[in-house]
Symmetry: C2
Subunit: 429 residues, 2 copies
């Protein structure tokens, strides 16, 4: 059998099949798993790229029945049961788990795909980090760059990712001004968080959202709520009231979509946001040999749940649980047992604003915030980080940053020769 994608969902499925009576090939266009919840830390120079990337082969190297295949999937030939790969021979399967994830959703807003920075892949995060650090360098030497918005950072989207990026940007600017000898004043830097709704963190209770808003505002983040973005260009963002913010940096945290990903090429029914429609057991509707999981699938909340009519949100926990469930159903099929319906076990949701400020909302509705929320957040993310070595490194980094108030990897590693100081943004979508 074949698993398409080694994100949380695909990895969880493959792990559940280690040493079970099935030959598994897991395909990904990257040779590493990305720990997406911490990408915002890479983007804001808090963690190294490698801290959130773990080689897939190192996870399955000793498992006799799980093979990694480094290739880009271009589609599925359902008639011949083959996964199509770019530039090489197709991969035959008897069953397949589609865990191909999602990409940034731009809602057709002009200029967003071209000029805003998404934050879904490690490359996104590295590109954004280099871009931000270069803007600080621009502002340091060129007063005109400051006027052009070099120090104005606009974050679009008030969900957890947007809140996390805005909070981490505030810390990056504090640290840079304090430790890095820049000539500009911290007061000249702006972080603007824009959302079309009139509150942050929609899935959280209103009290948690207002705590986040108050904390962000206290850290210098300007909140522009109840306004949509009309358009993005290389030098500004226009809002729906016609106002314009001069900026060189727009971070796009406006949600994700399955459109334009491999899942949309599969010829299967697409539900909301292009997510693949699945039955109760997570098999793709109309097929028993294909399952869809994680961000790519419209995963049902499941029976006996108070929210059994709902589709699960695109969260790491949903990906992990749905991947594992699909793996178990393939074993059921192999052993001639009926498949079982998926049921999501809600473990709560979390968002962090920064140093000693995070929110954990438990399924029963209890909200823990502040230092205790932050410690819960730290601990949980460390537990879920793949690989003992990565955990140690991240722990050292975090402890060091906390104690020293600084010293993250503020290093521009991008192609410094082809994209020199002062160059225009080179994002092309």
């Amino acid at each position: 059998m074949v698993i398409v994608g080694a994100g949380f969902a695909g990895l969880s499925a493959a792990r559940a099949l280690i040493d079970r009576p099935v030959e598994v090939t897991i395909v990904d266009q990257r040779n590493f798993h990305t720990f997406q919840p911490l990408l915002y830390e890479v983007a804001t120079a808090g963690l190294e790229s490698g801290d959130v990337a773990y080689p897939i082969r190192a996870i399955f190297g000793r498992a006799g029945n799980v093979t990694f295949r480094f290739a880009t999937v271009t589609g599925v030939d359902w008639d011949h049961r083959r996964v199509l790969l770019q530039g090489t021979t197709p991969l035959p399967f008897d069953s397949v788990i589609v865990a191909s994830g999602a990409t940034a959703r731009y809602f057709g807003i002009p200029g967003a795909a071209e000029f805003a920075h998404p934050l879904y892949t490690l490359t996104d995060a590295r590109t954004l980090r280099d871009h931000i650090l270069r803007r600080l360098e621009d502002a340091d030497t060129d007063p005109a760059a400051l006027a052009r918005g070099a120090l104005t950072f606009v974050v679009v989207g008030g969900g957890p990712t947007g809140v996390e990026v805005a909070g981490a940007l505030a810390e990056l600017l504090d640290v840079a001004v304090r430790h890095d000898g820049f000539s500009f004043d911290r007061q000249n830097a702006r972080i603007v968080l824009v959302d079309g709704l009139d509150r942050l963190l929609t899935p959280f209770k209103a009290s948690a959202a207002s705590y986040a808003a108050t904390t962000l505002a206290g850290r210098g983040v300007e909140l522009v709520l109840g306004h949509m973005v009309n358009s993005v260009d290389p030098s500004s963002v226009e809002l729906d009231d016609g106002s314009r913010i001069r900026t060189r940096t727009v971070v796009w945290a406006g949600g994700v979509t399955v459109e334009n990903t491999i899942a949309s090429e599969l010829g299967a029914d697409a539900g909301p946001g292009g997510r693949l429609t699945v039955d109760a057991d997570l098999s793709v509707t109309g097929r028993s040999d294909a399952f869809a999981v994680g961000d790519a699938a419209a995963v049902p909340w499941g029976p006996h749940s108070s929210r059994h009519d709902d589709i699960c949100p695109q969260l790491a926990q949903v990906a992990i649980q749905s991947g594992k469930h699909a793996a178990a159903q393939i074993l059921n099929q192999i052993e001639g047992r009926p498949t079982q319906p998926f049921r999501y076990r809600d473990k709560g949701i979390m968002a962090t604003i920064g140093r000693r400020a995070a929110i954990t909302q438990f399924p029963q509705g209890l909200v823990v915030r502040g230092t205790l929320g932050w410690l819960s957040w730290l601990g949980l993310h460390l537990v879920y980080l793949i690989g003992f070595r990565n955990r140690i490194i991240v722990l050292v980094n975090w402890s060091w940053r906390y104690l020293s108030w600084g010293s993250g990897p503020r290093v521009i590693v991008g192609d410094e020769l082809e994209w020199g100081p002062g160059a225009e943004p080179r994002r092309t979508g």
Copy 2:
């Protein structure tokens, strides 16, 4: 005053001027210092990029008199005493320290600059790491790739860098085969170390060189000594006896040159290898307002030395000592004192072959090798790594790798979408 370059030499000069009565601007085209002695570890997936890169601003951020300027130097206008910068206004100076380093030396060998991988910058190291890991992936899925030399790694140059890369490659292959579930046999992988001389490690004693040769051979490295490379192309290397090695990977460790660097644009006299000719006090010959240090300069060994007629080798220690000396002479000039001649204090030379195998040769001629040599090498490199945090991270990484026999960051972070699996090497020099 202006310091051009933030390698060992420029950094050492700038550090010596912190809180002294002089305004210093240090210019570099990268915003980080690169710890070059460990680049081979990055190239062979032993360390992360960030472990050997330290943000320059974080070093001088609190020094009131040292400013960092992120820019690419294009030349010096001696008549008007200005350092010329790419795309922005020149930087005036009353005195300047040229610490612009060197680049790989190809000796005009056809194809070398286009198709071999140098190892002098962090970008070089990252590019080489991605390239090597992609070749392992090619070999895993495609028998034809194996025949085309996907698992043959040719290292050109038997100096410390060549020996280090060859030894580290042997360890990378061992670890990859043991932990990563590749389908190929370790026996199918070749590492070939080529040098025109008939021994390795010329600056070391013959006993040290033969220890290195024996140890490398014991770890599966083929030594081809006494042969020059005639040419390099994307699929092979031709030696001077007409024999051809099919390979996709040529690592160029054939020495460095100052030609084609900014130093060769300065209009000053060039000595051996294009290095700038300097007087005894390290001032550029014929100028009292310019000093040249580190790899860019033909640094004299100095008076009262048994080798006073010699030029120092291009080593980190020479760069550190010459940078500091030039800084002191600028202070002498400012305070109206005569400048002093430079004298190199030889602290010995080191090379590592890998796990529990390294050589330290002290100036008196004593050679320490094996486990003790390796521990000396580890300790010394940790002491010289810039930044407490980097030291902890590197120590954790090394300890972890030693104890676990594996688990380095074998992650392909390059532009995976534009340079997909199976693509041709994209090096263009």
